[in-house]
Symmetry: C2
């Protein structure tokens, strides 16, 4: 099967997920054409998964497709955007047609679940690697960013940390089934002062948010929700959770459970307190527990 026939197969598997609301022209031309409703901004992000680094080289295609979409949509969730359009660039060695078809099915399933369209892509021979560029819409000026946290804001996370990490260690398919917090992100527009998704790790991503906002934070370790499979210190450092980490001065009732874990403070120091005493977060340098990753 040559490149073009394989692309036709992929598009056939995507089926109606190759189109959708706002899609004026889907896969098959030099570019896709999409609409952005008047009064809305477009959020654009890209994230890459490399075989042997972000997933095992023998991972099933459908799971890789699901994860590739999920991690990108998580970035849109952190912006409070409504996920809409994706393009997918896949490089794969000497075409393994069943694997690529499974990849397309995984992509289509995740796209259906999150109501996004796969409007185009690229297929090339190369090391197994997938880059997705994901697009979401958000009412003008309403996007959440990392830079709005202010001293006195409370710090929240949207779920238990360590789930993705322990799924990875256990080779559990849930590792691939990233559930981007799109509904929560949307509910946080006009509520959260800053937001980020936890991909690198809680402390690392909290530092990104604090740096962008020009503030520090004080976290109470005992308030941080941690899944049973990992200890609290690992949970602070491991990535792959794709929960939202956000700040807010006041939180109205939300449909989702969120956990208050600390407070934004003046300065630039991020402190985690265990029974009132600060943990040493920096054994590996200023970014926190990066040596765990």
């Amino acid at each position: 099967m040559d490149e073009f026939a394989l692309i036709d197969r992929i598009v056939a598997i995507l089926g109606e997920r190759a189109g959708g609301e706002g899609v004026l022209l889907g896969p098959g031309d030099d570019a896709a054409l999409v609409a952005v409703p008047p009064g809305f901004d477009l959020a654009v992000t890209t994230d890459t998964l490399v075989a042997g680094r972000h997933f095992p080289p023998d991972a099933p295609g459908d799971l890789v497709g699901e994860r590739a979409l999920g991690v990108n949509l998580s970035d849109l969730a952190a912006m409070g955007a409504e996920a809409r359009y994706c393009v997918v660039a896949l490089t794969a060695p000497e075409p393994d047609v069943p694997w690529i078809e499974a990849f397309a099915r995984g992509l289509a399933d995740a796209a259906a679940r999150h109501r996004v369209a796969i409007v185009g892509g690229n297929l090339a021979r190369g090391p197994l690697c997938v880059s997705v560029a994901a697009h979401g819409i958000v009412a003008g000026g309403q996007a959440l960013t990392r830079s709005g946290a202010r001293p006195g804001d409370r710090v929240y996370v949207s779920g238990a940390l360590g789930v993705g990490h322990s799924a990875r260690l256990a080779e559990d398919p849930r590792f691939y089934r990233v559930e981007p917090r799109l509904d929560l992100g949307a509910a946080l527009r006009g509520v959260a002062s800053a937001a980020i998704d936890i991909s690198d790790g809680f402390v690392s991503d909290l530092r990104h948010l604090c740096t962008a906002s020009g503030v520090g934070a004080e976290i109470d370790l005992q308030a941080v929700p941690v899944c049973p499979e990992v200890d609290a210190r690992t949970a602070l450092a491991c990535g792959d959770d794709y929960e939202l980490l956000f700040t807010a001065a006041e939180l109205p009732p939300l449909d989702a459970t969120v956990y208050a874990v600390g407070t934004i403070v003046a300065g630039e120091r991020v402190t985690v307190l265990e029974a009132g005493r600060p943990l040493d977060l920096d054994p590996a340098g200023p970014r926190g527990f990066r040596h765990f990753e």
Copy 2:
């Protein structure tokens, strides 16, 4: 230098090219935010370059950056779109900082030349590979597609074929300096009935256009502009030219030189005539001279 420090370096090198008209939020958050003016559609495309396949593994970073942007913008040119925003996903082995800095400079130079912003990206360790997703705006309903060619339309190309191919063989840096025909693409809105850029090769891309339009074509080999370094048959088959191939019922005066090379006909057959006799285009199968690539 860790991943985040390297990203900071890249963004510093991009400088003002990390922003620009319509860029509401550039690199550094979970996603970029861009504006699409009311009444405009957004064209979205993605294309990947893999070391060892699309460029030599020892190619200079600046040239790879230039080419990665150029080939993507060429797809926007073929849609008649105005290039605006790009995100860039780079995977590279154990960070070669000078190479990555050169890559960022090449990207910035090309972005400045074509007036586009690099609004975000991703950096990961992996085999050397770059995927760009490029975005352009085009007045609602005015985009050029592959599907509008009608029998009787003339077929045009925007420049000599074989230039990219011979530059590649000669290891000439011009191979990397793809000049997307953005101005011509814009001038063809409302003029061309169909358009495509020549990346796979003249015959192959003409077939894509004809298939999308449900038509055939008759090309006069002697009318096809060919660079001195290659013979006419190679020029029909080799890719890498990134000229526009388009059809039009009538052509007003244009600022750019274009070459009339044939006519769209009913049916689905693409024929190239040499002194009135059809060439055998299919030694390697229905896609034309793909074995040359």
